[in-house]
Protein backbone atom coordinates (compact mmCIF):
# COMPACT_ATOMS: atom_id res chain seq x y z
CA UNK A 1 0.00 0.00 0.00
CA UNK A 2 3.01 2.16 -0.36
CA UNK A 3 1.75 4.18 -3.28
CA UNK A 4 -1.72 4.57 -1.84
CA UNK A 5 -0.31 5.94 1.41
CA UNK A 6 1.87 8.35 -0.48
CA UNK A 7 -0.99 9.42 -2.70
CA UNK A 8 -3.29 10.08 0.24
CA UNK A 9 -0.54 11.99 1.99
CA UNK A 10 0.09 14.18 -1.03
CA UNK A 11 -3.60 14.78 -1.62
CA UNK A 12 -4.00 15.87 1.98
CA UNK A 13 -1.13 18.28 1.62
CA UNK A 14 -1.70 19.71 -1.82
CA UNK A 15 -5.48 19.60 -2.04
CA UNK A 16 -6.30 20.05 1.62
CA UNK A 17 -9.50 22.09 1.06
CA UNK A 18 -10.77 19.61 -1.51
CA UNK A 19 -10.33 16.39 0.45
CA UNK A 20 -13.52 15.66 2.34
CA UNK A 21 -12.83 12.20 3.68
CA UNK A 22 -10.29 9.39 3.54
CA UNK A 23 -11.55 5.94 4.35
CA UNK A 24 -10.01 2.50 4.59
CA UNK A 25 -12.30 -0.50 4.31
CA UNK A 26 -11.29 -4.10 3.66
CA UNK A 27 -7.91 -2.93 2.54
CA UNK A 28 -9.25 -0.47 -0.01
CA UNK A 29 -8.62 3.24 0.15
CA UNK A 30 -11.37 5.66 -0.75
CA UNK A 31 -10.79 9.38 -0.96
CA UNK A 32 -13.80 11.68 -1.18
CA UNK A 33 -13.09 15.04 -2.71
CA UNK A 34 -15.02 18.08 -3.81
CA UNK A 35 -16.29 17.73 -7.34
CA UNK A 36 -14.76 21.04 -8.42
CA UNK A 37 -11.24 19.72 -8.06
CA UNK A 38 -11.79 16.19 -9.30
CA UNK A 39 -9.91 16.71 -12.55
CA UNK A 40 -6.98 18.39 -10.78
CA UNK A 41 -6.76 15.61 -8.24
CA UNK A 42 -6.91 12.91 -10.90
CA UNK A 43 -4.29 14.68 -12.99
CA UNK A 44 -2.01 14.69 -9.97
CA UNK A 45 -2.73 11.03 -9.29
CA UNK A 46 -2.08 10.13 -12.92
CA UNK A 47 1.29 11.79 -12.54
CA UNK A 48 1.90 9.71 -9.43
CA UNK A 49 1.45 6.51 -11.44
CA UNK A 50 -2.26 5.76 -11.36
CA UNK A 51 -2.30 5.34 -15.11
CA UNK A 52 -5.35 3.18 -15.63
CA UNK A 53 -8.86 4.53 -15.18
CA UNK A 54 -10.58 1.26 -14.46
CA UNK A 55 -14.08 2.47 -13.93
CA UNK A 56 -16.32 5.48 -13.67
CA UNK A 57 -19.66 4.97 -12.05
CA UNK A 58 -22.10 6.66 -9.74
CA UNK A 59 -24.22 5.77 -6.75
CA UNK A 60 -27.61 7.28 -6.03
CA UNK A 61 -28.01 7.91 -2.29
CA UNK A 62 -31.59 9.10 -2.58
CA UNK A 63 -32.68 11.06 0.46
CA UNK A 64 -29.22 12.29 1.28
CA UNK A 65 -27.75 15.55 0.24
CA UNK A 66 -25.72 15.57 -1.93
CA UNK A 67 -27.68 12.84 -3.61
CA UNK A 68 -25.15 11.35 -6.02
CA UNK A 69 -21.66 10.10 -5.60
CA UNK A 70 -19.50 9.75 -8.70
CA UNK A 71 -16.93 7.02 -8.23
CA UNK A 72 -13.62 6.72 -10.05
CA UNK A 73 -11.63 3.55 -9.70
CA UNK A 74 -8.00 4.20 -10.46
CA UNK A 75 -5.30 1.61 -10.81
CA UNK A 76 -1.57 1.89 -10.95
CA UNK A 77 -0.12 -0.73 -13.25
CA UNK A 78 3.49 -0.13 -12.08
CA UNK A 79 2.64 -0.27 -8.37
CA UNK A 80 -0.33 -2.65 -8.79
CA UNK A 81 -2.48 -0.67 -6.39
CA UNK A 82 -6.01 0.51 -6.54
CA UNK A 83 -7.34 3.84 -5.33
CA UNK A 84 -10.92 5.00 -5.32
CA UNK A 85 -11.85 8.64 -5.73
CA UNK A 86 -15.37 9.76 -4.99
CA UNK A 87 -16.98 13.11 -5.61
CA UNK A 88 -20.42 14.13 -4.36
CA UNK A 89 -22.82 15.68 -6.84
CA UNK A 90 -26.01 17.40 -5.82
CA UNK A 91 -29.33 16.86 -7.51
CA UNK A 92 -29.74 20.57 -8.17
CA UNK A 93 -26.45 20.89 -10.01
CA UNK A 94 -26.17 17.43 -11.46
CA UNK A 95 -22.93 17.87 -13.38
CA UNK A 96 -19.27 17.15 -12.91
CA UNK A 97 -16.21 17.83 -15.04
CA UNK A 98 -15.46 15.17 -17.60
CA UNK A 99 -12.39 13.01 -17.19
CA UNK A 100 -12.00 12.53 -20.95
CA UNK A 101 -9.20 15.10 -21.05
CA UNK A 102 -7.11 12.72 -18.95
CA UNK A 103 -8.26 9.31 -20.12
CA UNK A 104 -10.09 8.27 -23.27
CA UNK A 105 -11.49 5.36 -21.30
CA UNK A 106 -13.74 7.86 -19.56
CA UNK A 107 -15.63 8.53 -22.79
CA UNK A 108 -17.92 5.54 -22.81
CA UNK A 109 -17.96 5.10 -19.03
CA UNK A 110 -19.21 8.65 -18.54
CA UNK A 111 -21.74 8.23 -21.30
CA UNK A 112 -23.06 5.26 -19.41
CA UNK A 113 -23.26 7.20 -16.15
CA UNK A 114 -25.13 9.98 -17.96
CA UNK A 115 -27.46 7.47 -19.58
CA UNK A 116 -28.32 5.43 -16.52
CA UNK A 117 -27.82 7.89 -13.68
CA UNK A 118 -28.43 11.26 -15.31
CA UNK A 119 -25.24 12.97 -14.21
CA UNK A 120 -23.94 15.36 -16.83
CA UNK A 121 -20.27 15.64 -17.66
CA UNK A 122 -19.13 19.07 -18.70
CA UNK A 123 -16.50 19.02 -21.39
CA UNK A 124 -17.44 15.56 -22.63
CA UNK A 125 -17.00 15.40 -26.40
CA UNK A 126 -19.95 13.16 -27.20
CA UNK A 127 -22.41 12.94 -24.34
CA UNK A 128 -25.15 10.76 -25.80
CA UNK A 129 -27.10 7.90 -24.32
CA UNK A 130 -25.26 4.64 -24.78
CA UNK A 131 -27.29 1.70 -23.52
CA UNK A 132 -30.82 3.07 -23.70
CA UNK A 133 -32.34 4.34 -26.91
CA UNK A 134 -31.79 7.97 -27.85
CA UNK A 135 -35.39 8.95 -27.13
CA UNK A 136 -35.57 7.33 -23.71
CA UNK A 137 -37.05 9.41 -20.93
CA UNK A 138 -35.55 9.12 -17.46
CA UNK A 139 -32.42 7.54 -16.05
CA UNK A 140 -33.06 3.94 -15.05
CA UNK A 141 -30.48 3.43 -12.33
CA UNK A 142 -31.83 6.24 -10.19
CA UNK A 143 -33.49 4.96 -7.09
CA UNK A 144 -36.79 6.73 -7.89
CA UNK A 145 -37.04 5.02 -11.26
CA UNK A 146 -39.39 2.05 -11.01
CA UNK A 147 -37.76 -1.32 -11.60
CA UNK A 148 -40.32 -2.46 -14.12
CA UNK A 149 -40.14 0.70 -16.13
CA UNK A 150 -42.07 3.94 -16.20
CA UNK A 151 -45.83 3.93 -15.51
CA UNK A 152 -45.77 0.49 -13.95
CA UNK A 153 -46.63 -0.84 -10.52
CA UNK A 154 -43.61 -0.73 -8.23
CA UNK A 155 -41.86 -4.05 -7.90
CA UNK A 156 -42.82 -5.85 -4.73
CA UNK A 157 -40.59 -8.83 -5.21
CA UNK A 158 -41.12 -12.40 -4.35
CA UNK A 159 -40.76 -13.37 -0.68
CA UNK A 160 -39.18 -10.08 0.22
Amino acid sequence: MALNDRAVQELKEKFAPAVLEVKEFRGETTVTIRKESVVEVCRHLKGLGYNLLTDVTAVDYMGRDPRFMVVYNLYSIPAKERLRIKAPVTEADCTIASMTILWNAANWLEREVWDLMGIGFTGHPDLRRILMTDDWVGHPLRKDYPLQGPDREPYKGRLS
Partner: protein, 390 residues
Amino acid sequence: MATTETMTVNMGPQHPSTHGVLRLVIELDGEIIRKITPHIGYLHRGVEKISEHRTYHQTIPLTDRLDYLAPMSNNLGYVLAVEKLLGIEVPERAQTIRVIMAELTRIKSHLVWIACHALDIGAMTVFLYAFREREKIMDIYEKISGARMTSNYFRVGGLSKEPYAGFERDVQEIIDTFPGHFDTYEGLLTENTIWKQRTIGNGVISAEDAVDYGITGPALRGSGVDWDLRRDNPYSGYENYAFQVPTGTNCDTYDRYKVRMVELRESVKIVKQALDALKPGPILADDPQVCYPPKESVYNTIEGLIHHFKIASEGFPVPEGEVYQGIEAPKGELGYYLVSDGGTKPYRMRIRPPSFVNLGAIEKMAKGAMIADLVAVIGTLDIVLGEIDR
Protein backbone atom coordinates in the same frame (compact mmCIF):
# COMPACT_ATOMS: atom_id res chain seq x y z
CA MET B 1 -17.36 18.02 -62.19
CA ALA B 2 -17.89 14.79 -60.38
CA THR B 3 -18.12 14.87 -56.62
CA THR B 4 -17.36 12.02 -54.30
CA GLU B 5 -19.04 11.25 -51.05
CA THR B 6 -18.60 8.62 -48.42
CA MET B 7 -20.96 5.69 -48.18
CA THR B 8 -22.59 4.96 -44.85
CA VAL B 9 -22.99 1.28 -44.15
CA ASN B 10 -24.98 -0.04 -41.26
CA MET B 11 -23.20 -3.11 -39.98
CA GLY B 12 -25.38 -4.97 -37.56
CA PRO B 13 -27.19 -5.51 -35.27
CA GLN B 14 -27.71 -8.55 -37.45
CA HIS B 15 -24.45 -9.30 -39.14
CA PRO B 16 -22.43 -12.50 -39.21
CA SER B 17 -19.35 -11.11 -37.58
CA THR B 18 -20.47 -8.58 -35.02
CA HIS B 19 -20.60 -11.33 -32.39
CA GLY B 20 -24.13 -10.65 -31.29
CA VAL B 21 -26.12 -7.49 -31.55
CA LEU B 22 -23.40 -4.93 -31.97
CA ARG B 23 -24.34 -2.26 -34.46
CA LEU B 24 -21.64 -0.26 -36.16
CA VAL B 25 -22.47 2.64 -38.43
CA ILE B 26 -19.42 2.98 -40.63
CA GLU B 27 -18.58 5.62 -43.15
CA LEU B 28 -16.75 4.12 -46.06
CA ASP B 29 -14.55 5.70 -48.64
CA GLY B 30 -14.36 2.81 -51.06
CA GLU B 31 -13.26 0.05 -48.72
CA ILE B 32 -11.51 2.38 -46.31
CA ILE B 33 -13.22 3.13 -43.02
CA ARG B 34 -13.42 6.83 -42.25
CA LYS B 35 -15.62 6.77 -39.16
CA ILE B 36 -17.12 4.16 -36.88
CA THR B 37 -20.05 4.89 -34.62
CA PRO B 38 -20.86 1.92 -32.41
CA HIS B 39 -24.40 1.58 -31.14
CA ILE B 40 -24.84 -0.79 -28.24
CA GLY B 41 -27.59 -1.58 -25.80
CA TYR B 42 -29.67 -4.02 -27.83
CA LEU B 43 -29.16 -6.60 -25.11
CA HIS B 44 -29.56 -4.29 -22.14
CA ARG B 45 -31.45 -6.11 -19.41
CA GLY B 46 -30.69 -3.85 -16.50
CA VAL B 47 -28.75 -6.36 -14.43
CA GLU B 48 -27.43 -3.62 -12.17
CA LYS B 49 -30.92 -2.31 -11.51
CA ILE B 50 -32.45 -5.75 -10.95
CA SER B 51 -29.72 -6.71 -8.52
CA GLU B 52 -30.72 -3.85 -6.23
CA HIS B 53 -34.00 -5.67 -5.70
CA ARG B 54 -32.62 -9.13 -5.05
CA THR B 55 -30.71 -10.77 -2.28
CA TYR B 56 -27.02 -11.36 -2.66
CA HIS B 57 -27.53 -15.00 -3.58
CA GLN B 58 -30.28 -14.22 -6.05
CA THR B 59 -27.90 -12.01 -7.98
CA ILE B 60 -25.48 -14.85 -8.81
CA PRO B 61 -27.66 -16.22 -11.65
CA LEU B 62 -27.83 -12.73 -13.13
CA THR B 63 -24.05 -12.66 -13.39
CA ASP B 64 -24.09 -15.88 -15.46
CA ARG B 65 -25.78 -13.95 -18.18
CA LEU B 66 -23.22 -11.19 -18.47
CA ASP B 67 -20.40 -12.81 -20.37
CA TYR B 68 -22.29 -15.90 -21.32
CA LEU B 69 -19.17 -17.49 -22.73
CA ALA B 70 -17.47 -17.39 -19.35
CA PRO B 71 -20.22 -17.71 -16.72
CA MET B 72 -18.06 -19.02 -13.90
CA SER B 73 -15.64 -16.12 -14.17
CA ASN B 74 -18.55 -13.77 -13.66
CA ASN B 75 -19.77 -15.81 -10.72
CA LEU B 76 -16.30 -15.78 -9.24
CA GLY B 77 -15.89 -12.01 -9.41
CA TYR B 78 -19.25 -11.47 -7.81
CA VAL B 79 -18.89 -13.94 -4.95
CA LEU B 80 -15.40 -12.63 -4.25
CA ALA B 81 -16.78 -9.11 -3.98
CA VAL B 82 -19.53 -10.19 -1.59
CA GLU B 83 -17.06 -12.23 0.45
CA LYS B 84 -14.77 -9.24 0.64
CA LEU B 85 -17.65 -7.13 1.86
CA LEU B 86 -18.56 -9.76 4.44
CA GLY B 87 -14.95 -10.42 5.35
CA ILE B 88 -15.26 -14.21 5.31
CA GLU B 89 -12.66 -16.76 4.42
CA VAL B 90 -13.38 -19.46 1.88
CA PRO B 91 -12.09 -22.98 2.58
CA GLU B 92 -9.10 -24.12 0.59
CA ARG B 93 -10.91 -26.86 -1.32
CA ALA B 94 -13.55 -24.43 -2.52
CA GLN B 95 -10.87 -21.98 -3.60
CA THR B 96 -9.02 -24.64 -5.53
CA ILE B 97 -12.15 -25.84 -7.31
CA ARG B 98 -12.96 -22.22 -8.11
CA VAL B 99 -9.55 -21.83 -9.69
CA ILE B 100 -9.99 -25.02 -11.70
CA MET B 101 -13.37 -23.92 -12.95
CA ALA B 102 -12.27 -20.36 -13.61
CA GLU B 103 -9.36 -21.58 -15.70
CA LEU B 104 -11.51 -24.07 -17.57
CA THR B 105 -13.81 -21.13 -18.20
CA ARG B 106 -10.92 -19.14 -19.56
CA ILE B 107 -10.06 -22.01 -21.90
CA LYS B 108 -13.69 -22.23 -22.92
CA SER B 109 -13.95 -18.53 -23.60
CA HIS B 110 -10.67 -18.44 -25.50
CA LEU B 111 -11.80 -21.40 -27.58
CA VAL B 112 -14.84 -19.46 -28.69
CA TRP B 113 -12.57 -16.53 -29.38
CA ILE B 114 -10.15 -18.50 -31.57
CA ALA B 115 -13.10 -20.14 -33.31
CA CYS B 116 -14.95 -16.94 -34.15
CA HIS B 117 -11.83 -14.92 -34.83
CA ALA B 118 -10.60 -17.49 -37.32
CA LEU B 119 -14.02 -17.80 -38.90
CA ASP B 120 -14.24 -14.03 -39.31
CA ILE B 121 -10.95 -14.08 -41.17
CA GLY B 122 -12.16 -17.00 -43.25
CA ALA B 123 -10.49 -20.03 -41.67
CA MET B 124 -13.52 -22.18 -41.17
CA THR B 125 -11.93 -25.37 -39.94
CA VAL B 126 -10.50 -23.96 -36.73
CA PHE B 127 -14.00 -22.93 -35.78
CA LEU B 128 -15.27 -26.47 -35.69
CA TYR B 129 -12.16 -27.89 -34.07
CA ALA B 130 -12.37 -25.36 -31.24
CA PHE B 131 -16.05 -25.97 -30.69
CA ARG B 132 -15.41 -29.69 -30.45
CA GLU B 133 -13.01 -29.08 -27.57
CA ARG B 134 -15.29 -26.54 -25.96
CA GLU B 135 -17.93 -29.22 -25.76
CA LYS B 136 -15.68 -31.19 -23.38
CA ILE B 137 -15.63 -28.26 -20.97
CA MET B 138 -19.36 -27.79 -21.42
CA ASP B 139 -19.79 -31.40 -20.35
CA ILE B 140 -17.88 -30.73 -17.16
CA TYR B 141 -19.99 -27.64 -16.64
CA GLU B 142 -23.16 -29.61 -17.04
CA LYS B 143 -22.02 -32.38 -14.74
CA ILE B 144 -20.80 -30.06 -12.02
CA SER B 145 -23.54 -27.44 -12.05
CA GLY B 146 -26.41 -28.86 -14.07
CA ALA B 147 -26.23 -26.31 -16.85
CA ARG B 148 -24.02 -25.91 -19.88
CA MET B 149 -23.90 -22.15 -19.83
CA THR B 150 -25.79 -20.59 -16.94
CA SER B 151 -23.84 -22.44 -14.31
CA ASN B 152 -24.71 -20.62 -11.07
CA TYR B 153 -22.24 -22.89 -9.32
CA PHE B 154 -20.37 -20.68 -6.87
CA ARG B 155 -21.95 -19.49 -3.68
CA VAL B 156 -21.04 -16.75 -1.28
CA GLY B 157 -18.65 -18.60 1.03
CA GLY B 158 -17.85 -21.48 -1.27
CA LEU B 159 -19.57 -23.72 -3.75
CA SER B 160 -23.13 -24.87 -4.22
CA LYS B 161 -22.20 -28.52 -4.05
CA GLU B 162 -19.36 -31.01 -4.09
CA PRO B 163 -18.09 -31.83 -7.57
CA TYR B 164 -19.44 -35.09 -8.96
CA ALA B 165 -17.51 -38.31 -8.68
CA GLY B 166 -15.16 -38.49 -11.62
CA PHE B 167 -14.62 -34.74 -11.81
CA GLU B 168 -10.91 -35.17 -11.32
CA ARG B 169 -10.73 -37.77 -14.07
CA ASP B 170 -12.55 -35.48 -16.51
CA VAL B 171 -10.27 -32.56 -15.67
CA GLN B 172 -7.24 -34.79 -16.00
CA GLU B 173 -8.40 -35.77 -19.47
CA ILE B 174 -8.57 -32.11 -20.44
CA ILE B 175 -5.08 -31.51 -19.09
CA ASP B 176 -3.80 -34.47 -21.10
CA THR B 177 -5.50 -33.80 -24.40
CA PHE B 178 -5.90 -30.05 -24.78
CA PRO B 179 -2.29 -29.00 -25.42
CA GLY B 180 -2.33 -31.29 -28.45
CA HIS B 181 -5.49 -29.66 -29.70
CA PHE B 182 -3.93 -26.22 -29.28
CA ASP B 183 -1.05 -27.46 -31.43
CA THR B 184 -3.60 -28.32 -34.11
CA TYR B 185 -5.02 -24.80 -34.15
CA GLU B 186 -1.59 -23.29 -34.20
CA GLY B 187 -0.62 -25.62 -37.00
CA LEU B 188 -3.48 -24.26 -39.04
CA LEU B 189 -2.90 -20.61 -38.22
CA THR B 190 0.38 -19.50 -36.65
CA GLU B 191 2.61 -19.89 -39.68
CA ASN B 192 -0.14 -19.59 -42.27
CA THR B 193 0.90 -16.86 -44.70
CA ILE B 194 -2.58 -15.52 -45.23
CA TRP B 195 -3.33 -15.53 -41.52
CA LYS B 196 -0.13 -13.60 -40.85
CA GLN B 197 -0.85 -11.14 -43.64
CA ARG B 198 -4.31 -10.54 -42.27
CA THR B 199 -3.32 -10.12 -38.63
CA ILE B 200 0.19 -8.62 -38.55
CA GLY B 201 -0.11 -4.86 -38.49
CA ASN B 202 -3.85 -5.01 -38.02
CA GLY B 203 -5.58 -3.08 -35.24
CA VAL B 204 -2.38 -1.65 -33.83
CA ILE B 205 -2.76 0.14 -30.52
CA SER B 206 0.32 1.22 -28.60
CA ALA B 207 0.78 0.41 -24.93
CA GLU B 208 0.15 4.03 -23.93
CA ASP B 209 -3.02 4.24 -25.99
CA ALA B 210 -4.22 0.89 -24.72
CA VAL B 211 -3.86 2.03 -21.12
CA ASP B 212 -5.41 5.36 -22.02
CA TYR B 213 -8.46 3.62 -23.45
CA GLY B 214 -8.66 1.37 -20.41
CA ILE B 215 -8.10 -1.82 -22.37
CA THR B 216 -7.43 -4.77 -20.10
CA GLY B 217 -6.75 -8.45 -20.36
CA PRO B 218 -5.12 -10.22 -23.30
CA ALA B 219 -5.71 -7.19 -25.52
CA LEU B 220 -3.56 -5.06 -23.20
CA ARG B 221 -0.90 -7.75 -22.86
CA GLY B 222 -0.78 -7.99 -26.64
CA SER B 223 0.35 -4.36 -26.55
CA GLY B 224 3.23 -5.30 -24.31
CA VAL B 225 1.90 -4.30 -20.89
CA ASP B 226 2.94 -6.98 -18.47
CA TRP B 227 -0.05 -6.99 -16.18
CA ASP B 228 -2.26 -9.81 -15.05
CA LEU B 229 -4.52 -9.51 -12.03
CA ARG B 230 -4.10 -13.20 -11.23
CA ARG B 231 -0.41 -12.58 -10.61
CA ASP B 232 -0.38 -8.96 -9.49
CA ASN B 233 -3.40 -8.83 -7.22
CA PRO B 234 -4.01 -12.52 -6.59
CA TYR B 235 -7.39 -13.73 -5.45
CA SER B 236 -8.83 -17.13 -4.67
CA GLY B 237 -5.38 -18.58 -4.08
CA TYR B 238 -3.82 -17.73 -7.43
CA GLU B 239 -0.62 -16.83 -5.63
CA ASN B 240 -0.02 -20.57 -5.12
CA TYR B 241 0.29 -21.38 -8.80
CA ALA B 242 3.18 -20.78 -11.12
CA PHE B 243 2.32 -19.50 -14.56
CA GLN B 244 3.68 -17.23 -17.25
CA VAL B 245 2.09 -13.96 -18.26
CA PRO B 246 2.66 -13.67 -22.00
CA THR B 247 3.07 -10.27 -23.62
CA GLY B 248 3.28 -9.11 -27.19
CA THR B 249 5.61 -6.59 -28.76
CA ASN B 250 3.97 -5.39 -31.96
CA CYS B 251 0.62 -4.40 -30.43
CA ASP B 252 -1.24 -5.96 -33.36
CA THR B 253 -3.84 -8.65 -33.86
CA TYR B 254 -1.22 -11.31 -34.45
CA ASP B 255 0.44 -10.61 -31.10
CA ARG B 256 -2.89 -10.67 -29.33
CA TYR B 257 -3.52 -13.99 -31.03
CA LYS B 258 -0.23 -15.36 -29.79
CA VAL B 259 -0.82 -14.01 -26.28
CA ARG B 260 -4.13 -15.79 -26.07
CA MET B 261 -2.69 -19.01 -27.44
CA VAL B 262 -0.04 -18.95 -24.71
CA GLU B 263 -2.71 -18.15 -22.16
CA LEU B 264 -4.60 -21.25 -23.18
CA ARG B 265 -1.57 -23.38 -22.43
CA GLU B 266 -0.85 -21.54 -19.19
CA SER B 267 -4.43 -22.10 -18.09
CA VAL B 268 -3.98 -25.82 -18.60
CA LYS B 269 -0.87 -25.63 -16.42
CA ILE B 270 -2.77 -23.83 -13.68
CA VAL B 271 -5.54 -26.40 -13.84
CA LYS B 272 -2.93 -29.14 -13.51
CA GLN B 273 -1.35 -27.54 -10.47
CA ALA B 274 -4.74 -26.89 -8.91
CA LEU B 275 -5.83 -30.45 -9.51
CA ASP B 276 -2.67 -31.73 -7.85
CA ALA B 277 -3.32 -29.45 -4.89
CA LEU B 278 -6.95 -30.51 -4.54
CA LYS B 279 -7.55 -32.04 -1.12
CA PRO B 280 -10.72 -33.19 0.58
CA GLY B 281 -12.31 -30.71 2.93
CA PRO B 282 -15.27 -28.45 3.40
CA ILE B 283 -16.57 -26.55 0.40
CA LEU B 284 -18.42 -23.85 2.32
CA ALA B 285 -17.16 -21.35 4.85
CA ASP B 286 -18.09 -22.03 8.45
CA ASP B 287 -20.48 -19.11 8.66
CA PRO B 288 -24.10 -20.18 9.23
CA GLN B 289 -25.27 -16.57 8.87
CA VAL B 290 -24.27 -16.57 5.22
CA CYS B 291 -23.85 -20.12 3.98
CA TYR B 292 -26.55 -22.58 3.21
CA PRO B 293 -26.74 -25.64 5.50
CA PRO B 294 -25.86 -29.03 3.97
CA LYS B 295 -28.66 -30.57 1.95
CA GLU B 296 -28.93 -33.62 4.26
CA SER B 297 -29.81 -31.42 7.17
CA VAL B 298 -32.29 -29.41 5.07
CA TYR B 299 -34.09 -32.55 4.02
CA ASN B 300 -33.95 -34.33 7.38
CA THR B 301 -34.12 -31.78 10.17
CA ILE B 302 -36.49 -28.93 10.90
CA GLU B 303 -33.62 -26.71 12.06
CA GLY B 304 -31.84 -27.21 8.80
CA LEU B 305 -35.00 -26.49 6.85
CA ILE B 306 -35.66 -23.25 8.73
CA HIS B 307 -32.04 -22.26 8.36
CA HIS B 308 -32.18 -22.84 4.63
CA PHE B 309 -35.50 -21.01 4.31
CA LYS B 310 -34.20 -18.00 6.19
CA ILE B 311 -31.19 -17.61 3.94
CA ALA B 312 -33.08 -18.34 0.75
CA SER B 313 -35.98 -16.00 1.43
CA GLU B 314 -34.46 -13.24 3.46
CA GLY B 315 -30.86 -13.38 2.48
CA PHE B 316 -28.15 -12.36 4.85
CA PRO B 317 -27.25 -8.90 6.07
CA VAL B 318 -24.00 -7.53 4.81
CA PRO B 319 -22.03 -4.90 6.71
CA GLU B 320 -22.29 -1.36 5.45
CA GLY B 321 -19.48 -0.38 3.17
CA GLU B 322 -18.21 -0.51 -0.35
CA VAL B 323 -15.71 -2.74 -2.09
CA TYR B 324 -14.35 -3.18 -5.55
CA GLN B 325 -13.21 -6.61 -6.62
CA GLY B 326 -11.48 -6.96 -9.94
CA ILE B 327 -10.64 -10.34 -11.40
CA GLU B 328 -8.82 -11.38 -14.51
CA ALA B 329 -11.74 -12.59 -16.58
CA PRO B 330 -10.95 -14.13 -19.97
CA LYS B 331 -11.66 -10.84 -21.68
CA GLY B 332 -9.98 -8.48 -19.27
CA GLU B 333 -10.56 -6.98 -15.87
CA LEU B 334 -14.02 -7.80 -14.68
CA GLY B 335 -14.82 -5.62 -11.70
CA TYR B 336 -17.67 -5.65 -9.24
CA TYR B 337 -18.19 -2.51 -7.22
CA LEU B 338 -20.62 -3.31 -4.43
CA VAL B 339 -22.16 -0.79 -2.08
CA SER B 340 -24.00 -2.15 0.91
CA ASP B 341 -26.26 -0.23 3.22
CA GLY B 342 -26.26 -3.02 5.77
CA GLY B 343 -29.30 -4.76 4.34
CA THR B 344 -29.76 -8.09 2.61
CA LYS B 345 -29.71 -6.66 -0.89
CA PRO B 346 -26.93 -4.77 -2.63
CA TYR B 347 -27.57 -1.04 -2.43
CA ARG B 348 -25.71 -0.63 -5.68
CA MET B 349 -23.92 -3.17 -7.78
CA ARG B 350 -21.74 -1.84 -10.52
CA ILE B 351 -20.25 -4.25 -13.01
CA ARG B 352 -17.15 -3.11 -14.78
CA PRO B 353 -17.35 -5.15 -17.96
CA PRO B 354 -14.06 -5.65 -19.79
CA SER B 355 -15.68 -5.93 -23.22
CA PHE B 356 -17.47 -2.61 -22.83
CA VAL B 357 -14.31 -0.68 -22.14
CA ASN B 358 -12.30 -2.62 -24.74
CA LEU B 359 -14.91 -1.93 -27.39
CA GLY B 360 -14.53 1.79 -26.69
CA ALA B 361 -11.20 1.65 -28.52
CA ILE B 362 -12.61 0.17 -31.71
CA GLU B 363 -12.56 3.41 -33.64
CA LYS B 364 -8.99 4.03 -32.57
CA MET B 365 -7.98 0.57 -33.76
CA ALA B 366 -9.90 0.29 -37.01
CA LYS B 367 -10.11 3.82 -38.39
CA GLY B 368 -8.38 4.13 -41.71
CA ALA B 369 -8.33 0.38 -42.17
CA MET B 370 -10.55 -1.68 -44.46
CA ILE B 371 -13.79 -3.49 -43.77
CA ALA B 372 -11.97 -6.79 -43.58
CA ASP B 373 -9.70 -5.30 -40.93
CA LEU B 374 -12.64 -4.09 -38.91
CA VAL B 375 -13.93 -7.63 -38.79
CA ALA B 376 -10.55 -8.81 -37.56
CA VAL B 377 -10.48 -6.07 -34.92
CA ILE B 378 -13.91 -7.05 -33.62
CA GLY B 379 -12.62 -10.59 -33.39
CA THR B 380 -9.40 -9.69 -31.64
CA LEU B 381 -11.15 -7.52 -29.06
CA ASP B 382 -13.12 -10.63 -28.11
CA ILE B 383 -16.32 -8.87 -27.18
CA VAL B 384 -19.47 -10.38 -25.78
CA LEU B 385 -22.56 -8.29 -26.06
CA GLY B 386 -24.22 -9.80 -23.02
CA GLU B 387 -21.51 -8.20 -20.96
CA ILE B 388 -21.36 -4.92 -22.85
CA ASP B 389 -25.06 -4.27 -22.62
CA ARG B 390 -25.71 -5.96 -19.28
